[in-house]
Subunit: 148 residues, 2 copies
């Protein structure tokens, strides 16, 4: 027989990763969309909150979002009043991007949703298993980020 007793896709680690990541992304996108936000908005607000006022280029590097996308997402965040852009007096090529008070409130709101998603995502795993999983994934990520 040339027919294997298993299907290969569901047993491939690359498949498992892509499928679980897809479920995860759906959960996240949906929860954020419920609040009228996208993934980029959360990532930018979180990065901005953690590293303080930055130029757009720095923001892109730290958040891992490409500059073109940073521009578009910041336009949206600025329209909603969650960030402010002002020219840097020290370097007039730059915009200094800052989180507003409304932006901090927004971030807290999104943080809650993101945390809820983590719990939904890992629901079938025990606390120890969650630590195992994040540990293994962290090592994989470190390895592949180190060797491009």
């Amino acid at each position: 027989m040339h027919k294997p007793a298993f299907s290969r896709l569901p047993s491939l680690p690359s498949w498992l990763l892509s499928q679980t990541a897809l479920h995860s992304a759906r959960l996240l996108t949906d929860r954020l969309a419920d609040a009228g936000a996208r993934g980029y908005h959360y990532r930018l607000l979180a990065t901005l909150d953690e590293s303080g006022p930055s130029s757009q280029a720095d923001l892109g590097r730290r958040s891992g979002i490409h500059l073109g996308d940073v521009v578009a997402a910041l336009n949206e965040l600025e329209s909603a009043g969650f960030v402010s852009r002002s020219p840097d007096p020290a370097d007039r090529r730059r915009n200094v991007v800052q989180v507003t008070d409304a932006g901090r409130t927004r971030l807290a709101e999104l943080d809650e949703r993101v945390t809820a998603v983590q719990d939904e995502l890992l629901a079938p795993l025990s606390a120890e298993e969650r630590v195992q999983l994040t540990g293994l994934l962290t090592r994989l990520l470190a390895h592949h980020n180190a060797t491009p």
Copy 2:
């Protein structure tokens, strides 16, 4: 201080999943592209090889590829001579899709590449850790596939 000592993104399971899946997808896409193939081609050939001649609708269900995309990918596979479409005599709405001999050779070639990618992907993990990881991911996937 309102600034946490960690950045939250790298510690979120959903982030770890999406990033490792991204690396994985890049590895896979690149290796397949080296042979002039895409992910859909491999998935369709593998599904076809495992479940035998099928209608396009069945193929889509089994491989998890949407019908519109099945059509496009089959067009490509048929042009390359890896699959053949013929009208089903029993139900003339259907196309029966079959793998050709060239298609089986092609699948073997792609299978090798896919296997190599798994090894590259899991390089930093020991054999036991690989089993751990696939086990945890399999449980996550089963859970989320069961509760849509």
